[in-house]
């Protein structure tokens, strides 16, 4: 026996390393003493403050703890700097509308990616799934109708695209959760498969003849001056953020990423939940594929090779931890706009836009380094 007995404490989290655990005994005496001091303080301090300031303090504490507060600051500084340097060109409705429209597709992928990364997973396939879904949608629409198609065929095409995306996601989730193949490998595989199959279906040629009704409305139309693409992306972001922050689904997503074994022991159906999360990510990639199709009126097969990495970068920039258990959709929103604003600002300033990749790469590494430091500081042995 001794199966259970020889396994010593490995700490609660995937992020806790063995070194930290072994030092725990050595420093725990001092640690206990200091925590006793702090405790006495809280006990003796009278607390007649009203509830309002209490919640305010809690909110403030939570804000400092989230990384997205800092990245938001970076975004604000960038926007202020570009606005001061080019007041006639940068802070205009026209320009910001363009930036937002360009960012819409990446934002939608980023929302799904945030869920996946919070479960300590990763999805490299979203860019390919986007293309695959776009091809399925376009093939459906052009197959049953033509450029002048009515809303019926368009709707069918949209549903087909969404279903295709969700199916790829569910397959990813199944392989990750049930077959226990690492997410990196599963989605690297489906990255190739989805793109390859999309090219097989189209023989490598982009599908054209997408219904004009689709491109004139969702693709390039506006509601109250705001492009449909932006409206849809923001709607997805708000819903995604609410679901993550306030629902049981969101809570369990965090729990699984934080400690999958604990979630399992607590009776959470971890495997099923993971399948749902990856399916959601695929579904949103499908939606992004449809929006891209509507915008460009063609499938842009070769144009999305960097989307997966862009989405992962945005998620990580937004303070979501690759170790799982931590992250927000608001952070991802900020993380999508930092590269977008940088690129736009560089173009307006006349700097080579390629510098954007260099800058974002640096910021990304800095963000992950900050996350590491934060984890080391807060996760005690």
């Amino acid at each position: 026996m001794s199966l259970g007995e020889t396994t010593t404490d490995t700490g609660p989290g995937p992020g806790d390393d063995a070194a930290a655990t072994t030092t725990s005994t050595a420093k725990s005496a001092g640690e206990a003493a200091s925590s006793a001091d702090v405790k006495d303080e809280t006990v003796t301090a009278p607390d007649p403050r009203p509830d309002l300031s209490d919640t305010a303090r809690r909110l403030a504490r939570r804000l400092v703890r989230t990384n997205s507060a800092w990245t938001f600051l970076v975004l604000l500084v960038l926007m202020t700097a570009f606005s001061i340097m080019k007041p006639a060109h940068f802070p205009t409705t026209f320009n910001l509308r363009n930036v937002a429209t360009d960012a819409a597709v990446l934002l939608i992928i980023g929302v799904g990616m945030t869920y996946v990364v919070i479960t300590a997973g990763i999805d490299l396939s979203v860019g390919s799934v986007l293309v695959f879904s776009g091809v399925v949608a376009a093939k459906t629409m052009t197959g049953i109708s033509d450029v002048d198609a009515g809303w019926g065929p368009i709707l069918l095409g949209l549903l087909a695209g969404l279903a295709a995306g969700a199916a790829w996601g569910a397959l990813n989730g199944f392989l990750v959760a049930k077959a226990k193949v690492p997410a990196l490998i599963v989605t690297l595989g489906s990255l190739g498969m989805a793109l390859g199959l999309a090219q097989v279906m189209t023989e490598g040629q982009d599908v054209r003849g997408v219904p004009t009704r689709l491109s004139d409305t969702i693709g390039n139309g506006r509601v109250l001056g705001v492009p449909w693409l932006v409206v849809i992306a923001l709607l997805v972001t708000v819903l995604g953020a609410l679901a993550l922050a306030t629902t049981r689904f969101g809570r369990r997503t965090y729990a699984i990423g934080s400690n999958a074994e604990a979630a399992r022991r607590a009776g959470i159906p971890v495997e099923l939940h993971l399948i749902k999360v990856y399916a959601l990510c695929g579904l949103l990639a499908g939606l992004a594929g449809i929006l891209s199709l509507a915008r460009f009126t063609t499938t842009t097969i070769g144009g999305h090779t960097n989307d997966s990495l862009g989405a992962i970068a945005a998620v990580v920039l937004g303070g979501t931890s690759l170790f799982g258990g931590v992250g927000t959709i608001v952070g991802t929103l900020i993380g999508v706009f930092i590269p977008a604003i940088l690129q736009n600002g560089f173009i307006i300033l006349g700097v080579q836009p390629y510098w954007q990749s260099v800058a974002v790469g640096g910021v990304l590494i800095a963000a992950v380094y900050a996350d590491q430091l934060r984890r080391r500081a807060t996760q005690r042995a």
Binding site: M1, T6, A36, R62, Y254, I268, R380
Partner: protein, 253 residues
């Protein structure tokens, strides 16, 4: 007195290894009973069997005098039996309330609840109560569990088990990784659990700790119960003797 939970003649094999060879175990209502034994004596296996995490090959389990089958942990949980695992089954990135309600989240009433919206205020309130009842003091109830000290985390793990178990809580080496002060606090929590009427099965290697907190001690050796003691009438030497087999007469069961 009618035992609350009883294992009789439990046998559990893992391939060639026989972890339990007809082990008996008894838990009475409202007591702290320590389960001790050397490495490999079968403590963890016995705990798993009684908590529904493993099925015995032979033998039976009685709950309040009636035979029960525990296919999985949820069966035991339904009877009011919970386990605090050695490797802390907590989510370090979630706060105390979220951990307390892990897998048993409270939802809001009405439409919001149907959509799966959490009732965070109610969970937080009940978590504060649950911690207060056990004397667990957290400086910041909203802090992720991973930022707490080991003792506080262990206390949260215990509070979590106690919040759902009104009958028996198994604690597998709850103080193993803790320093002296924190150890004392966790043992206070164990006593408070007992005083609230929930029985505690304490698996421990630490003899002075066992004698200070337990009411009774049951000793396991080579997969069998070899002795039971009343904690007040025994000594570390006697316990060690029973564990190692040096004192085989014991007060055999």
């Amino acid at each position: 007195m009618q035992p609350l939970l009883e294992g009789r003649g439990l046998v559990k094999r893992f391939g060639q290894v026989q972890a339990l060879r007809g082990a008996d175990f008894t838990v009475f209502p409202g007591e702290v009973v320590a389960l001790i034994g050397d490495n490999g004596a079968g403590k963890s296996t016995l705990t798993k069997v009684l908590a529904g995490a493993a099925r015995p090959d032979e033998g039976g389990i009685l709950f309040e005098g009636a035979p029960v089958t525990l296919e999985r942990p949820t069966d035991a949980q339904r009877l009011g039996i919970e386990t605090v695992y050695q490797d802390l089954a907590l989510a370090p990135d979630l706060d105390g309330a979220a951990n307390l309600f892990l897998g048993r989240e409270l939802l809001r009433r009405g439409l919001a609840g149907r959509l799966g919206v959490l009732d965070k205020a109610a969970m937080r309130r009940r978590a504060v109560d649950a911690f207060a009842r056990l004397g667990v003091e957290l400086q910041d109830i909203d802090a992720p569990i991973g930022t707490l000290s080991g003792g506080q985390r262990q206390s949260v793990a215990i509070a979590r088990a106690v919040a759902w178990a009104d009958k028996v809580v198994f604690m597998d080496e709850p103080t193993a990784a803790l320093g002296v002060l924190q150890r004392g606090r966790v043992l206070d929590v164990v006593r408070k659990v007992r005083d609230a009427g929930t029985s505690v099965v304490l698996i421990s290697h630490n003899m002075p700790e066992v004698l200070s907190v337990a009411d009774r001690v049951e000793v396991l050796r080579l997969g069998q119960r070899v002795a039971t003691f009343t904690a007040a009438d025994t000594s570390v030497e006697e316990l060690v003797g029973a564990m190692t087999g040096a004192l085989d007469e014991g007060r055999a069961a």
